[in-house]
Each structure stands twice: as structure tokens, then as C-alpha cells.
């Protein structure tokens, strides 16, 4: 019963979102939009072009920030027992990560051109 309800609610929600997009969204088109979608590269090309020079930098940053999330899982497990202190520890942890993010930003690591 509950399961059916879930499917009903979320199915409806999804249908509404899709149709809203079609009803309200602007209907302009351009050549790029009409191309088949291929993640991150032109669908038809000769050979594989070299990496953009910024690509490795973004990859390194991704690896670092991605792996730090792993520590949130053990943290979530002990949160019930520790509560307040655990929250402070998480804040300190996030602050260090944020400082790293600000550093990368100010250094221009996210500027693609």
C-alpha cells in the first residue's frame, strides 16, 4: 500500500516536472542543442584530441575532495552517541576543506580558459 503511494506521489511529481518544462520553458533551439548528447566531447570527431591543460588540475582537486567525503560515513555512525562535540568536529573538518577550496579558487584552479 505504502509502496503504491510512494510510486503514485513521485510518479506524479516527475510527470509534473517534465510537463512544466515543456509548457513553461522557452522553445528556442540552436545547432548545438540539436546534436546527439555525448559527455564532454563532440559526437563526431577525428581521433581523440589531447587533454585540455586544465583537465588534470580539476581531476586532482576532484580526487582530494571526493575522498574526504568518505570520512562522513564513520562520523554519521557515531553522531548519535556524541552529538554536540561530533558536530563541532565536523565543522572544524569542513572548515579545513573549505579553506582548501577557497585556496584553489583564489589560485584560479577553476578558471577554464
Amino acid at each position: 500500500m505504502t509502496l503504491a503511494l510512494v510510486f503514485l506521489i513521485f510518479g506524479l511529481l516527475g510527470a509534473v516536472m517534465v510537463s512544466m518544462n515543456a509548457l513553461l520553458g522557452p522553445k528556442k533551439t540552436n545547432p548545438v542543442k540539436e546534436q546527439p548528447f555525448e559527455c564532454g566531447s563532440p559526437p563526431l570527431q577525428k581521433g581523440i584530441p589531447g587533454f585540455v591543460i586544465k583537465f588534470p588540475l580539476v581531476v586532482f582537486l576532484f580526487v582530494l575532495f571526493d575522498i574526504e567525503v568518505a570520512f562522513l560515513f564513520p562520523w554519521a555512525l557515531i553522531f548519535r552517541e556524541m552529538k554536540g562535540p561530533a558536530f563541532l568536529i565536523l565543522l572544524a573538518y569542513a572548515a579545513v576543506l573549505a579553506a582548501g577550496f577557497v585556496y584553489a579558487w583564489r589560485k584560479g584552479a577553476f578558471r577554464w580558459d
Partner: protein, 473 residues
Amino acid sequence: MNGFAALAPLLFLVGGAILVLLLGTRRNGGTNSVQAAVSIAAIAAAGFSAARLWGRAVRAFGGQLRFDEAALFMTFLFLLAAAMAVLLGMRYLVRHAMPRGEYYGLLLLAACGLVIMTATINLLIVFLGLEVFSVSAYALSGLNRRDDRSAEAAAKYFLIGSFASAFVIFGLALLFGTRGSLDVHQLALPETGGSSALALTGLALVVSGLAFKIALVPFHMYQPDVYEGAPTPVAAFFAAAPKAAGFLVLLRILVPHFQTGIRNEAIIEFLSAVAVATMILGNFAALRQRNLKRILAYSSIAHAGYMLIAVISGDPAGLLFYLANYLFMGVGAFAAVIALGGPGREILDLDEFAGVGRRYPWIGGIFTVLLLSMAGFPPTGGFLAKFYVFSTAVRAGHLGLAIVGVLTSLVSVYYYLRIVRIMFMKEPERELDVDTENPAVYLVLFLCLYAVLQLGLFPGNIITLIRQATASL
């Protein structure tokens, strides 16, 4: 709040590092001297908060963080080395157009890793501290981005260093599996159960990983390349600080031997062989070098051999005294190299040093005293340190080690005095472009001179400190 007080030295270092790094991203506000001042302030704050922990046997985080007096003594050494490296870097960074915020920030983080390494008895935390240091160190040695040699040093250091780290962590896995604990005091005890082969392999892997980091023969090959290629202030920091951390960990592993009398002879024999090889190879390889930074690198390998004797003969006091001495000798020697460098270029080839001592008698004179201390002449600290180590080795029954130590020290006199002879006896071949406007470097040089003489002539105070430190092991 006890935990917070114990964390304070580390927090100051990390906070200082983050602040300096962020300052470095500002276009105009973060000038060189501001960043250096912030770094020195962070190091001083860490030092004061560490000094307040002395004599309080602080434990925090379920005993994982443990600032006993030995760890605090080492912390002071690391902070001193970092502060001197900051001073040495100030002008050097500008001369060689190196990134400044990154230099100071990574230096503080490297010092932080070394503190973590010594302030625990859990080998996993040791490993984490080692990695915090190593990762910063790889980046530090490649910081001179316009120089191929710096990039090469970074690549070699990184490859060998991460290889050694893999050894350590796999060894820890085997030890954890067989012992069920990573407590440092349980490792070196002889096996009782059935899985002794696995445990012994684990211990051997951990010890060889540490030997890589300390650069003991046969795990030393990368060290001269790293010293030569890395920016000289970075090499000054590497000269003593990481070795000190590695030796304290080694000492902690072996302490139960000397306190309980239950001995694991295999380790002692292995370390003795390594010590002999290190002393002989380090000193003889230094003989045929022409590059000053490489000579200092091999000399630091040789000194690691002498310090290993102190570990083997169960003499923590001798080890700490030697480390304190070597810190000032090592940093001071590299400071002299920096002081004699010109704008954008360093003099490294021995022949170019001809006559330098006559032209710059103060730098040449201090360099000479530091070299004499390395060679072990009285009345310097280097003499007392060697005297303590060798005499304790004889009393502990390691006569052979002491004899090899004395003989190889005699060999080392040749290459140390050769530098002095070239500086003072030879005529200068051509005009040298020496940048003499470098007060921070002179400060470091005088500090090292003072320390080496103080330790040699009036070592009383520091020996009292060392007694307290070794009592806490």
C-alpha cells in the same frame, strides 16, 4: 579540555599553514615578510603551547595522542628547524622566484606531520604523521618550478617515498593481523605463538620503511639527489628534522628491549649491519663528491649511521643529544651555502669556493666551525655527541660498532677539512657574485654557531632536559 590543550601545538601549526596559504593567494596584501612573520608567529605559538605541556604527561584521544617529554623535546627540535628554514627561505624565495605562500605553508605542515609522528605510540598514527610530512616534503622539494633539477628531485623523492610508505603500511597490516594491536611497545618482543614468520616479516617491513625515511644504507640512494635538487632551505629542513622523527619512532619500537631485558637478537643484528654499512658508505661516498650539497647529503647519511649506534646500544640520551647537535650543524651548513649564493644562482661546485673564506671571513669562519663540529673536533657539540655515543656503545658491549664509528669519523675529517682548505688556502679564480644583504641567514648562522659551541662547552642545561625526556619513554 585536556584534549584541546594537547592538540594546541598542532592546531597552531595547521592554522598558521592555512592562513599563510590563503595570504599567498592575495595579489598585493600578502607580502613576503608578512607571510614569514605569520609563519614564525605560528611556530612560536606552537612552541609555547608545547612548553606548557612539559612535565604533565598529557594524553588525549584515548591515549592516541601522547605528548611525553621525549615527544616534546623532539617537537622543539622540529619547530626550531622549521623556524630556521623560514628565515633561510625569506630571501632565497625571492632570488629564485619561487612561490612563497606554498613554501611557508608546506613547511609548517611538514613540521606538523613530524610532531604527529613523535607524539604517539600507535603505529597507525605514526604512519599518518609520516604521510603528512612526506606529502608536504614531495611538494617542497619540487617547489623551484623553473629548475629541472628541483622537478627531478621531487619525482625521485615521491617515487621512493611512496614505495617506502607502502612497505610501512603493509608491515603494519601484518603486525595488526598477528598481534591484534599497533601499540609500539608490543612489536619488538620475541614471538610466542605460531604466526611468528608473518609478524617478523611485518616488523622487517616497518623497520625498512623507516630506514628509507631516515636514509640508512641500503635505502639511502635517493637522499643525495633530493638534497642536490631541492631548494637549499628545504634541504636544510630535511637534513635533520625527518631523521630525528624516524629515530624516535625506531627508539620507541626498541625501548622494551632495554627495559625488560627480553631481547629480539635478530633486530639488533640487522640494525648493527645497517649501521656499519651506513657509516662506511656514507663517509666514503662523500670523499669523491664535488658538489657541496651532495657532500652534505652523504655526510648526513654518515651521521645517521652514528645515531643508529646510539639506538642499538639502548642510549636514548645519547641519541637525543646527537640529534640536537646535528640539527644545528646540518641547518647551519646549508645556511652557509645559502649565504654564499648569488642572485638567482648558487655556488655549489667545490672549486668555485676557492678563496671564499678570505673574502667573507665571517661566513667562512662559522662554516668552518660547523664543519669541525661535524667532523667531531673539541670543543664543539659534535665532539661531545660522538664521544657519548661511542663510549656508551663500548659499555653496552658493541665494541666493533664503536671502532667502525671512530675510524669512519677519521675518514670524514678529510672531506670536511678539504672544504675548509679550499675556502681559505686557495686563491680565488674569479669574482663571485655573492648576495650579502641577507640578515635572516646571518641570524641563522650565528644561532647555529652559538648552539654548537654551547652544546660543546656547557651542555649541562640541555642534558637535564634530555634526562627528563628519556625518563618518559
